[in-house]
Structures are given as C-alpha cells and as structure tokens.
Symmetry: C2
Subunit: 208 residues, 2 copies
Amino acid sequence: MSEQEKQTKEQLILTAAEQEFLTKGYDGARTTSIAKAAGVTHAMLHYYFRTKEQLFERIVDDKFRLMAQSILAAFGNPNQSIVERIRGGIGLHFDYIADNPQLPRFVINEIIARPERYDILYSRMRGIVDSIYANLQRDIDLAAERGEMVQIDARMLFISIMSLNIFTFVAYPFMEPIMGELMADRNAFLQARRAENINTIMCRIKAK
Amino acid sequence: MSEQEKQTKEQLILTAAEQEFLTKGYDGARTTSIAKAAGVTHAMLHYYFRTKEQLFERIVDDKFRLMAQSILAAFGNPNQSIVERIRGGIGLHFDYIADNPQLPRFVINEIIARPERYDILYSRMRGIVDSIYANLQRDIDLAAERGEMVQIDARMLFISIMSLNIFTFVAYPFMEPIMGELMADRNAFLQARRAENINTIMCRIKAK
DNA sequence: CTTTGCATTAACAAAATTGTTAAACACGAT
DNA sequence: ATCGTGTTTAACAATTTTGTTAATGCAAAG
C-alpha cells in the first residue's frame, strides 16, 4: 500500500498546489497553505518536492502544455471547408477554455513575471504556430480567391478569436458584478457568449 | 526647499511603486525593491507611507479610477449617429489602453486576488455602466428599427469591444515571441490591430 | 524477528521581508 | 544662536515563509 499511499499524498499536494498557484500565482501562493489544503504537514510537501520552485514547475509544465494543446486542437482540424473549420475551431477553443477558465490568466501572468524562463517553450510553440499559420493562410487565400470569404491575415484573425474567447473568462470576475442579469446565470451567459464570438468572427470573414 | 524635496521623494517612491506593483502585483512587489528603484532608503518608504499596504492603496485607487474613466470616456460620447459613436468609441478605448497597457491586467488580477475589497467601487461603477448601457441600448434599438444596424445586446457588444481591445495588450508579451514579423514593429502592429478591431465590430453591427 | 527503505512528524534553522526606533541632520522662524 | 519641525540614516526587531533534520513509524523482504 505504500506505493498507493505515496501516489495519493503526492497527488493531494499537486492538486492543492495547482489550485493555489492558479488562483494566487507563484508569489501569492504559500507552501504552508498548500500543505494545509492537501491535508499534509508542510514538511511532507518539502519531502516530496524539495522546494516551492520545483513544485511550481511541475504545475507550470502541465499547464503550458495544456494551453498550447488548446490552441492546436482547435484549429489543426480535418478537411472541412476553411470557413467551417474556423467556425468549428472557435467553438472548440471556447469550450477548451471553459474547462480551464483560470488557465489563460495564469499563463500570461507567469510569462510576464519571468519571461527568461520560457525561452525553450517558445521555440517549440513557435514551430507549431508557424505551421498552423502557413496552412491556414494558404487555405484562406484560396477560399478568398474563390469568393467564399474575405482576404485576411490568418494571425490577425487568430488574435481576434483568442481575444474574444479568452477575455470572457479572464475578465469574468471583473464584469460579473457590473453586468447585472446578463451574467446572473453563468451557463446561459457562456452559451450566449460562445454564439456571439462565433457570430462576430463569421461576420468578419463572410464574403461581402 | 524642504517642501519641494518632500514632494519629490514622495513622488519618486510613488512612481517606483506604481511600476513595481503594476508589473509584479502586490505579492510579487518588494518594498525594498521599490525603495531601491526610487533611490531612497527603505526606511524612507515606511516613513512616508507607513506600510506596503497603504502605499499599494494609493496606487490602486488611482489606477481603478483611470480604468473606469477609460471605459466611460470612450462611450459616453456626443451626438453623432450611433454607428459612428461606436466606431469612435472603439478607437478611443483602444488609444486609452495603449497609453496604459499594464492597467487591465493589474485591475483584473487585483479584483481576483481580493474581491471583497472592491464592493464599494462596484456600486459606483454599476451605476455608471447601467446608465451608459441603457442609453446605448435605446439608441441601438432605434437605429436597428431604421435599418442602420443590426439588433444587438449593448452589453454583449461592449464585451466584444473590450475583449478585442484589452486582450491585445494583456497578451502582448505572450504573443510577441510566437508571432514573428507580424508583431516585430510594435507601433505598426498596434495600428493594424486598432483598425482590425474597429473593422471586426463594424462588420458585426452593419445592417445586412 | 530483524533489517531495510521509504513515509511521517515535530521541532528547529535560515532567509527574506516588513516594520520600528533613536539619533543625526537640515533649515527656517523666533 | 537656538529652537522646533519635519527629514534622513543606520541599525535593529518582528514576523513570515521557506527549507532542514533527527527521531520515529511502519510495512514488506529476507
């Protein structure tokens, strides 16, 4: 059972740490608070992860991978028409973030707090983004020539999509108290927002 | 000159503190680091502001006011047509944030870190937002009836505009390294982004 | 049953960070 | 000149937070 127990305790700490780091960031997080939330002594936390730094890196690695995946999964899609691929991609991306609403804010804050640290990560992402971009841009150009949509820079379109989808969640706690009934029912609001984001982008790219 | 000197030192500390708090947040900021950046001993900082907390509040108050203003100023506008008012508002809002690019992230993080604290602030903002909203929604409804634009919920439109404008700056450090030449020239990119945001919203509200 | 190896605890140590104080200082007003 | 007021400094105190250690437990393998 020692193997089982260890798994559980380590897992408990990781889960508590994830929650703490995602909401409070590295600086705001306290190892004692994490240990308490996990129901272990704080010496236990250091026993498994040595330092706060190392514990944090475990979380960060996971989360960055997740963030990159969410972007890829949404647009590295099969062989529908480009317009449908974009429409579907927006929805997928939105849903992905809805499942991890704290993720974007965490990633952005981390990168701003310690940019140096993520150089390796960038080279990986850069390659992925470049290939998606080239692919998407080519399809957009072709579709534009056929009059199926307007000509547009794929990266600009991409940024617009990310803006609309991500901001909804990043700013939710800020907007919720000042938007009244519109946001009273979270699920209803998110559903409406999802549709609105798709609609907004579709209007933008639809052939005139 | 004692009066002059005091102003300057206090001001030096405030300026350094603003920079530190905006980039690192309350938890990441160090009073010693602020004092050093301001070129004063850290005892000096405590002499003028007593605690880190109080120094922080001075900054936060300013910044929240600024944030609220930016939203108001952009859309509480004169008597052009509603479509033109929206078009102009997007640009104004974008420019305002371009002048204070760290502001939105700071405000959002602060509110998430300590929601309780901003209850009073909310009641003030709530009133302002409500009146702008009612006003805008009425004009939109009228314009929609006249066929000048599509029918749309003003708050949804509002969120879309904020998303597009704010995200550009919040995520800049994250996107810059993975977007290649598109973002190489910051000014050129921002100008393009400003136009794109206006274009995107105009497409969304233009009468079909 | 004892050895071995990891798990656990409590108490402690070290470092970093915030906050204080007492003494020196500058300088204008009386 | 000196008194008073607010400024400045250096040294120190307090607290918080991270990290360590030595002793103990516990369970499986020999």
